[in-house]
Symmetry: C2
Subunit: 200 residues, 2 copies
């Protein structure tokens, strides 16, 4: 096998499988079959074993996801319109069999948050970086810094939740609902009393 590619192929296969089948649900032999790499190479490149491989996979998945989100955000200058592009891409991914899971690290994060500190931290970092991309887009759209930061994080949470619901329900409705609710979600804070407002 081409040496330039072996490590990369292993990481690519791991990235895909960990995202779509989970950490515990993916065996190393399956990664090897998917990548075509020999078992010796896996431990040669990742002496730390499965966990070390997962760290590399999280890194790669993060970069891929972040590049995709940046690309979609660049399709419009106005934040709401741009984030709608991101969501439209996710809706498309749900309709392409099984691809939506490649846009999230939630499963891996949930599986490992109590069982592997290095993996928990890697996922946390990935989430922070993604939230920062949303934050930057809001800031570039004129949101005040503090509001942009809050919006970025709230977006992160809501998008991850909508992905889970869409996958579970096998329905784009949660992502579509989020698209329609974006203006409220991102509306700047301009209320004074926040507990007794209820509906107007």
């Amino acid at each position: 096998m081409d040496q330039v590619d072996t490590r990369g192929k292993i990481v690519a296969a791991a990235s895909y499988l960990f995202q779509t089948k989970g950490y515990a649900g993916t065996g190393l032999n399956e990664i090897l079959r998917e990548s075509g790499a020999p078992k010796g190479s896996l431990y040669y490149y990742f002496p730390g074993g499965k966990e070390a491989l997962a760290l590399a996979a999280i890194e790669q998945a993060s970069h891929t996801m972040q590049a995709k989100v940046r690309q979609n955000l660049a399709l419009a200058a106005e934040p709401v319109a741009a984030i709608r592009q991101v969501l439209a891409d996710m809706i498309q991914a749900l309709q392409n069999d099984g691809q939506l899971l490649t846009l999230s690290l939630s499963m891996l994060a949930l599986e490992t948050c109590h069982s592997s500190e290095p993996l928990r931290q890697a996922c946390a970092r990935s989430f922070r970086e993604m939230a920062a991309i949303y934050t930057a887009k809001l800031a570039a759209g004129g949101y005040p810094p503090a509001r942009a930061a809050e919006g970025g994080q709230l977006l992160q949470a809501t998008i991850e939740g909508a992905i889970i619901l869409s996958l579970t329900q096998k329905d784009t409705a949660p992502l579509q609902l989020l698209q329609s609710q974006l203006p409220d979600l991102l509306k700047p804070r301009n209320w004074q009393a926040d507990s007794a407002s209820g509906p107007d």
Copy 2:
């Protein structure tokens, strides 16, 4: 072992372990150790095996979570205040080692949405029922029916996402941010143009 309890003990152990360690990450032998039940009983009560047990576990987890959310929602009549109680309970759970995962089925849902149709459907049903509880609370607080339905679903998504981020980051900040953003999230729709608003 007391026959009245055996099945229940197996389901309780399964419910806890599936929620905290995931479906693939939990072995049947571990459930047996946790419950004290003999292996023969597991297959006696669940001839369908692991998947059948998981269906019962999802049912039980759902009921437990729904009861808890209803209890918390009942602490205040006004929806925002009530939902803040729910979130406060979650924040408390995060601070009690490992308990927050018992308030979510997201991990199990993600793991099984492509690999088991019965389990996907059971999780989907659980999510729908939970969203309906939120919806009912909003409606009882005076939200128009359509708005209450949207709010319930958006809440569902955002809460699940905030749970994941809080667990991954080992920090209550995402749940706390959601608490503070609730009025905006649930604000009724009163805008006309939704794409060029940006910040005021």
